[in-house]
Symmetry: C2
Subunit: 491 residues, 2 copies
């Protein structure tokens, strides 16, 4: 079969775009920068949502829903926040169309102008804290642990499917607490939840750490992040959790009577992950044959393809396949039977490789005679012949092995592409040749960070929580440094 994807080695960016299109994940829409998430791509998002939602609820959170619109004046209330978001806002100014008097379709009715413009939420801190003001009087009303699943809009100039789109889907948690310690503990808890999700479900190893001041969320005192390494050696920020201090409580005057009966401002966190995670999933594992999906997030984990010459053979095979499917489903394994007559087996094999289905079973008349079945795993493309009798156990074990293998592969890749550097020259030389994560000493100043960014485009991805604590000297200025931080080129 002809290759349908540009190879990664030839053009990584084109490979990514080809894959998103050919695996039926998403496509560009008629609206600039907005994508259509197609059913197969959306099914991955649904799997992610279900698991994350469970993890949020297991840690005591509840879901709610806040308005899409934010009054313009709300954005201005937190100085850093408006600075960060004002330049990329979709603004609603009118609430009605009318027939064009010239008879050409419809025009905006100038008489239906809003008194105050409304911003489509780029994030919801402001509308949520204006609401929390009414919910919180006393420490007895705290903590508030809300999450919402929503769409948000940021008017990005350069967009890329899943990675950076004008509209995207995400969840945003917004919590309110009595004390700084409690809000910070929540911030930490949630970055840990994201890391567990990334590693256990997405099979992507991540580094947890704090952002430098430059890279913090607009309005946060601390931003914690999980950073993943893509196969082209670039970093992808995959989830963030922000300690907001009392900034939003002060902006919206949210005070509570504390245990001493005194008024105090409420402490806050917010945290989110988005459909960007699908981009991470694609770029961390996939190959030149298509997607490689971790079994725990695959829309279906197994596909069964019948090999037959006539309807009689298909009928016999289908009887056996139904038995196999029942056994697999009993173990909680999701399975699709592709008995379409319109496509040949070879076409189907390529199709499911493209779509990253973890395990493919193929069964023909000779298999029926022998009680055997062909098992192909997507991650290594290896094929074996197994007995039908215990195929459910074989597949269950294989799915576990695949989940582990793709994590191990990504972990090894990251290990091989993480480099300790002690001189700026070495850093610059390796950044564009080897790529990956660089562990380097930094003097802690924004000045040095921006100089490095200007000269190399590399940014500090995070100050890792679990560094080796080795002290040293900044690779640029030679000033003292408490620990190495992670630099990389990033999406």
């Amino acid at each position: 079969m002809a290759k349908v994807l540009t190879s990664k080695e030839e053009n990584y960016s084109q490979w990514y775009n080809d894959l998103v299109a050919k695996a039926d994940l998403a496509e560009n829409s008629a609206v600039r920068g907005c994508m259509v998430i197609k059913p197969y791509g959306y099914a991955i998002w649904e799997k992610m949502q279900a698991q994350l939602d469970k993890m949020f609820k297991d840690t005591g959170h509840v879901n709610a829903y806040f308005p899409l619109f934010i009054p313009k004046s709300f954005l201005s209330k937190e100085a850093a926040h408006v600075e960060g978001f004002a330049k990329e806002c979709a603004v609603v100014t009118h609430y009605r169309l009318k027939n064009d008097p010239d008879g050409k379709g419809v025009i905006v009715d100038p008489e239906a102008k809003l008194e105050e413009e409304l911003i489509i939420r780029p994030t919801s801190e402001t509308i949520i804290w204006s609401t929390y003001k009414n919910w919180i009087q006393s420490y007895r009303d705290l903590p508030i642990l809300c999450n919402q699943w929503a769409n948000v809009v940021r008017w990005e100039m350069r967009t890329r499917m899943f990675l950076r789109t004008t509209e995207f889907l995400w969840q945003e948690g917004h919590t309110a607490h009595e004390t700084s310690e409690e809000a910070l503990a929540e911030t930490t808890q949630m970055i840990n939840v994201y890391a567990d999700f990334a590693e256990e479900f997405m099979a992507i190893p991540v580094i947890k750490g704090a952002k430098s001041a430059n890279e913090r969320f607009a309005g946060a005192l601390e931003t914690f992040t999980i950073e993943a390494l893509m196969q082209d050696g670039k970093a992808l920020q995959s989830g963030t959790s922000h300690f907001l201090g009392q900034n939003f409580a002060k902006a919206f005057d949210v005070q509570f009577a504390n245990r001493d009966g005194k008024l105090d401002y409420v402490w806050a966190s917010s945290w989110g992950v988005s459909t960007r995670l699908i981009g991470a999933l694609i770029m961390a594992h996939s190959d030149n044959n298509g997607l490689v999906l971790p079994p725990k997030l695959a829309p279906y984990q197994v596909v069964i393809v019948p090999i037959y010459k006539n309807g009689e053979q298909l009928a016999e095979i289908s009887v056996k396949v139904n038995e196999i499917m029942a056994k697999l489903r009993k173990r909680g394994i999701s399975v699709k039977y592709d008995n379409r007559d319109s496509q040949r087996p070879g076409w189907k094999f390529a199709e499911y490789e493209l779509k990253g289905v973890p395990v493919r079973l193929a069964i023909g008349p000779r298999d029926l005679e022998n009680g055997s079945i062909e098992v192909a795993r997507r991650d290594t493309l290896e094929k074996t012949t197994e007995q039908i009798e215990n195929i459910d156990q074989v597949v269950e074990d294989l799915l576990e092995a695949i989940q582990k293998n793709i994590y191990d592969k990504a972990f090894l890749f990251r290990a091989e592409n993480t480099t300790k550097v002690d001189s700026y020259d070495e850093f610059k030389a390796l950044l564009n040749t080897k790529g990956g994560f660089f562990l380097a000493h930094w003097d802690g100043t924004s000045e040095t960070e921006l100089l490095i960014k200007d000269e190399t485009k590399a940014t500090i991805r995070c100050i890792p929580f679990e560094g080796d604590g080795e002290e040293g000297f900044c690779m640029v200025t030679g000033k003292p440094s408490k620990q190495r931080v992670i630099f990389a080129l990033a999406y």
Copy 2:
């Protein structure tokens, strides 16, 4: 305890607003006409979503996601559609804010004006059919059976929480078919799914039927509806399914090669239900003590309140309660244990009555001695004393009985408030005294329908699928009529 709700009899509308607020379902936001759906209200929506989503998938549908924005020119492509929606559109005209040169917050940057304005989707037919154009070449690409869960915006002048809000949450199914028959069968299938959901899960009897031409969706050839009767005698349209013919295919030039190799336009349906269903749920069952929730949609089905005088008693009770909870959960029953020390039992009883929790269990030291427990059902407010030993079976049976009882009660109410009328005078006399559904003959013309609406505010809710087929004469014009239709005042 003082009544916290205005009584239904005193002021139904105020009762509704009180209930939405006091049961913690939703509240008005800072943005005109937009509500905040609070965690308890959102939990009901999540239950609805989970069940509907399962029913959609069981009937072969998949989820996808299409953009929030619709280019203004798209709306104009289907004449009736733009006519129906242009007057209530939120319009995005700019994509950036900037600092006010006068130093007062931010203003819209006049240089960031969009070339073409974007409409916030009031419904997604246009953006979806512009997408389907690329997905459909041949009959082999059909049917397409997509659904999306999304927010939509309609700039309503008079809003009411859940029933009519500027932004609301819904699902919208959009399907594409080879033939008119197939699209019509889909339209019918989905109104049946909605009716099954309303009756089996919401415990609300509904009447299925077709809308008159006046009341059809903008762009549809047929609109099917489910109509429910609220306790104040008004109808609530609770879900609609539209047969769109080839209107949107023609507007967006979506043709396919049919089985004869000829080009034909694709046939379409669309169907949706929204957070309005929560309004229906409230108004169909609740009473002056608060919400009455059907067990199948209650965020938690059982609450357990301990009655104790000291920590020692509470500890003993809690041991037993943990056993009871484990047994209930084993049967798939959701249960909350309210052991808060900050509120008295009487306060908790009132609180859970307000919130409509179907079953309340109360247990104190004497119960522990006797192996007994108090069981209160929310629908009838009856209390019994039961043995702890088999409490799980008792509660399971009781939940079923409650689900059935509130349906039966609503069914009886509707029967008592459905009136056959043969004269217009009788209709007018009873409409504002008795209210409810009126079965009357109508001559089938928009003229007569509009006359009745002008004079009485009543509308034709639907031409029922399962009428008695009795022919007669229009109550207004005396012209012949094939069957009675349903008139009512409506939300």
